[in-house]
């Protein structure tokens, strides 16, 4: 069965099956709104020029349905929520890996144990905290929340990577008189870029695609709504308006798909670092 025709056909079938749903959405988003619900999108292959191709769905969903603003809000929420946890986690992971101190082992186990806590456990008390502090519906609130929720995994992944750095690096650094801080900045950080990058991609995709944290801490208000929330609202309010839903959904996917395609090797490396001993 090695590279035979049946094998290649099965692979082709699988790839087609996996792509068809997204393809249908993509094609429909450019079709005339009436046509979308009258004829199947697959008919475009038979009658490619009678479709009334249009950009009006996108125009409408960006302008009147707030997807444009949601796009900006998503960028605003995601970028700090990616960069800040990496910074904090890098320092902590380095200390756990290479700076001996009392209680280090116990504390590290506690941090990793937090991986077990589902974020649903945090929602009610933190929401109450935010209401009291006036942080509900603010970007700061959701930045801090995403940062904190991302820390256990970040520290775990970065620790795994940093602890595997060769010991002689640190020995020669301390012979040269470098302090722990200097060692961190000049040696550990540059070497950790693959791990930092892999986690950055994870966190970016996770935050960009997140619905729950955004719904709970940011809310549905039009000025702070992120893309998943906006799409969710669209589903609720315009359930049958497929010309809007297809365009809106595709808009939410452009950035993650691009990030993913461009950086998939680093992404895969990151997944494997967390799941398989290489």
């Amino acid at each position: 069965m090695l590279d035979s025709l049946p094998l290649r056909i099965s692979v082709l079938v699988i790839c087609v099956l996996w792509t068809v749903p997204t393809l249908g959405l993509f094609i429909s988003s450019f079709r005339n709104p009436q046509l979308i619900t009258q004829t199947g999108w697959w008919t475009v292959f038979l009658h490619p020029f009678e479709q009334g191709w249009t950009l009006q769905n996108y125009e409408q969903v960006i302008g009147s349905n707030g997807m444009g603003e949601a796009f900006l809000n998503s960028l605003i929420v995601t970028i700090p929520a990616t960069v800040i946890p990496i910074t904090i986690a890098a320092f902590a992971a380095y200390a756990f890996a290479w700076i001996p101190f009392r209680g280090r082992g116990v504390l590290f186990i506690l941090v990793v144990a937090l991986l077990v806590v589902p974020l649903q456990m945090a929602l009610i008390p933190v929401l109450q905290l935010y209401s009291g502090l006036g942080l509900y519906g603010t970007f700061v609130g959701v930045w801090l929340a995403h940062t904190a929720f991302g820390l256990p995994l970040a520290i775990f992944l970065l620790y795994n990577f940093m602890s595997q750095l060769p010991r002689d690096l640190f020995e020669s650094a301390s012979i040269d008189g470098a302090s722990a801080f200097q060692t961190f900045i000049r040696i550990v950080l540059p070497l950790s870029i693959p791990a930092l990058g892999a986690f950055a991609i994870f966190q970016f995709l996770w935050v960009w695609n997140d619905l729950l944290v955004a719904l709970v801490f940011l809310g549905p208000g039009a000025d702070v709504r992120v893309m998943p929330t906006a799409l969710f609202n669209l589903l609720g309010a315009y359930g049958g308006a497929w010309h809007l839903l297809t365009a809106g959904a595709f808009l939410t996917m452009i950035v993650p798909l691009l990030v993913f395609l461009a950086l998939q090797r680093a992404f895969v490396r990151g997944i494997l670092a967390g799941s398989v001993k290489s």
């Binding site: 290649r8 941090v111 700061v140 939410t252």
Partner: protein, 388 residues
């Protein structure tokens, strides 16, 4: 090198420079934070800038919620990055440099604490304290008095249906993703353009679950039998002569329809991990099995699968946890109103629809209890693998 060592502690300037720089940074950070905390912070700051530049009209518009709102938001992001990243760096740098000047015995104890302090602080506030608080809250009523009512409500039939659904998600969602992941990994392993093929299966992972739900709702779309079916599944279904079915909304077919969405996504994750694991199986073992006359299927099931057992456990537990916490798909497709309710969606409803924090807390704790053993299995397996 001797020169380096002599310059070690003085290479960033005298203590005074560090102190002054830190103070300036601190003041800027405090200003930044006050802007960030204010809901209208970005707008007010930009308005003040406009005022300074003489653009009174622009300032006025901003304060009224119009005008250059976008730039106000951008300003907010810039400040957030400066405070969040720059501020953290400043904190670490200045504290580290200051601590370095202390006696080695104090320094060596203080430095690691500085490195882990922000992480520990955030984790304490956002995960440890809330987790404890939520468990306590599950035993409290509106007034804060002790009650078992919240937990009692978990015995009524509505919740048993929820439990049933989560178990179905766990069984079908996990086995579907793991099974298909194994299958695709094994198949793709043998073809030439493997990396290209894998991308197609892997791509949905980048899509949000809400987006995936829209995609599949479109596939599942239903029209009354008299009208043309624009949903792919019903178009194929009716071509075979059957009546169109509301795949997405009608119980019980809606359950596997929803699970298919997750499987569509998670198979890519499983496939990628299994693919790497399969490639890690020693070729000698495979060759030996082939020489012994094993068919391809026997080779896969009896040789490769046992070799990658650890990986299978890891992937299964990881996906299992995702299925237990499933929220986005069910929330977007029906809000749990078609007998497809799950714990996470119910919890959301208790919080924001019924304002019953006690019951919501109980539901969150249920999730915690459900996820805990699976997570422990996952971590233990991971450590066992890492030790191998």
């Amino acid at each position: 090198m001797a020169v380096d060592r002599a310059q070690g502690s003085g290479s960033y300037g005298s203590s005074r420079t560090v102190l002054v720089a830190s103070l300036v940074g601190l003041i800027l950070a405090i200003i930044g934070i006050t802007v960030l905390i204010d809901k209208e912070g970005g707008q007010k700051l930009l308005a003040s800038v406009y005022d300074l530049l003489g653009n009174a009209a622009g300032a006025e518009a901003l304060r009224n919620g119009q005008g250059d709102q976008f730039f106000a938001k951008l300003l907010l992001v810039a400040i957030a990055l400066l405070v969040g990243v720059g501020g953290i760096w400043l904190l670490f740098t200045s504290l580290s440099l200051l601590v370095e000047r202390l006696r080695p015995s104090i320094r060596d104890r203080l430095l690691p604490l500085i490195f882990i302090a922000p992480a520990v602080l955030l984790l304490g506030i956002y995960l440890v304290y809330p987790a404890v608080r939520t468990v306590i809250g599950s035993f409290q009523d509106e007034a804060g008095a002790f009650t078992l009512d919240n937990w009692e409500s978990l015995t009524d039939p509505a919740f048993l249906e929820i439990l049933r659904n989560n178990i179905l998600w766990l069984l079908i969602g996990t086995s579907g993703s793991v099974g298909l992941g194994l299958l695709t990994a094994a198949l793709f392993d043998r073809i030439r353009r493997e990396s290209l093929a894998k991308i197609f299966v892997f791509l949905p992972l980048a899509i949000s679950l809400v987006g995936a739900t829209v995609i599949w709702k479109f596939v599942y779309a239903w029209q009354p039998p008299s009208q043309p079916q624009f949903g792919l599944l019903n178009a194929v279904w009716t071509a075979f002569g059957f009546e169109p079915i509301p795949w997405a909304t009608q119980f019980p077919i809606n359950l596997p329809s929803e699970m298919l969405i997750l499987i569509w996504l998670q198979t890519g994750f499983a496939m990628v991990v299994f693919s790497a694991a399969i490639k890690g199986v020693s070729s000698e073992i495979i060759e030996a099995a082939r020489l012994d006359g094993a068919s391809e299927r026997q080779l896969f099931l009896k040789v490769i699968v046992p070799q990658i057992r650890g990986t299978i456990v890891t992937v299964t537990t990881t996906i299992a946890i995702v299925t237990l916490k499933i929220f986005d798909i069910v929330m977007s497709i029906s809000g749990g109103r078609n007998h497809d309710d799950v714990v996470a969606v119910r919890m959301f409803a208790e919080m924001f629809q019924f304002f019953n924090d006690g019951r919501a807390a109980a539901l969150a704790t249920v999730l915690f209890i459900a996820v805990l053993p699976v997570m422990i299995l996952n971590l233990r397996n991971f450590r066992r693998q890492a030790a191998m």
